[in-house]
Symmetry: C2
Subunit: 198 residues, 2 copies
């Protein structure tokens, strides 16, 4: 059971209080399940702290994340906890009515908005769901992402999910978890099911 005790005390001139409030870049990668569900679990903690949370869903399936989306919207509207802003690519991003020409263009538009929000410190936690893919596919420039993340002002935490997160992103991250597949029902022919996969 984790006890929250660091193994070393850094010689960085910061107080524990300052060290506790550092902005984190978190990456959930690997081929196993739980990368996105754990990111949305983090959103619950952020909401409970009263933090504004921005979700950017870089996937196109209508079915995906319906549970998380509804839950976070109900929480955001409850009058308790933080504000939730949910943007998704599948139906065009919520800040533009324009039809995107392609997924590639849509992914780039999404990242441009994240960058604008980071500069304006709009949210306290950013969930960039499945954002590893557009970086891997070269749709979004990884070095630019890393530079923008490193330069972000204030205490803005960012969690990025997706398989094969690129190396420069892992280098820049404070916390990386690799979700490894040990066993999956699809291996024995079972299809995804309601309430579990979405």
């Amino acid at each position: 059971m984790p006890h929250g005790r660091p193994t070393t005390v850094p010689d960085d001139g910061l107080t524990t209080r300052q060290r506790r409030a550092r902005p984190l870049l978190i990456v959930h990668t690997g081929t196993g399940k739980g990368k996105s569900t754990a990111a949305f679990g983090l959103a619950l903690r952020a909401w409970n702290q009263g933090w504004p949370v921005g979700v950017f869903q870089f996937v196109k399936s209508a079915k995906w994340r319906v549970g998380e989306e509804r839950a976070l919207k109900v929480l955001g509207a409850s009058g308790e906890g933080g504000r939730i802003t949910w943007h998704k690519m599948g139906e065009g991003w919520s800040w533009t009515q324009r039809d995107m020409g392609s997924s590639e263009e849509a992914a780039r538009e999404g990242w441009a908005q994240v960058a604008r929000d980071l500069t304006a410190a709009t949210h306290r936690l950013y969930v960039l769901d499945e954002f590893a893919y557009p970086m891997n596919w070269g749709w979004v420039d990884t070095d630019e992402v890393v530079a923008t993340l490193r330069a972000r002002p204030g205490t803005q935490h960012v969690v990025i999910t997706g398989r094969n997160a690129p190396a420069p992103l892992l280098d820049a991250a404070d916390l990386v978890t690799e979700m490894g597949k040990v066993k999956h029902p699809m291996d024995s022919g079972q299809k995804g099911q309601r309430g579990i996969e979405w």
Copy 2:
């Protein structure tokens, strides 16, 4: 990106519909972060399906899971989605006023209640948070847990979290994810922080 396509089609005489509705035993283990957050992320999907969700928190720290607990309670009380029942060990289980003599006794009481709920099919998703520990410590008999889980009626999904999940549990599981630690801020001396660790 996962496409939800099984790699084989099993010769089990079941229809796809039947195969989609099989009860799953899910285990999140490993030394990395995200085991519990991903389990609570699954609870959001279950809630969205209108399923009754039972959370059994086999940990004693008052700080842990405060965000998840408040969020799920707000969701459960929202009048939308499924019912949420939250039991925790730290302050005695919610169904008993009696003071537990020890953590060991409390863990055993918790498991006995899970077993009763499984027999009565009280919930559709069970989150047994950090339940790997009492099994590892011999407080709860792993073989009995596995036998009870195998015999559970209906379509009751169970997710169990914790490091070093015992082998018989992994054998019985349908879905196992190993959360591996790649990088953690505590390695460089950073302490846990609000909104991230709890």
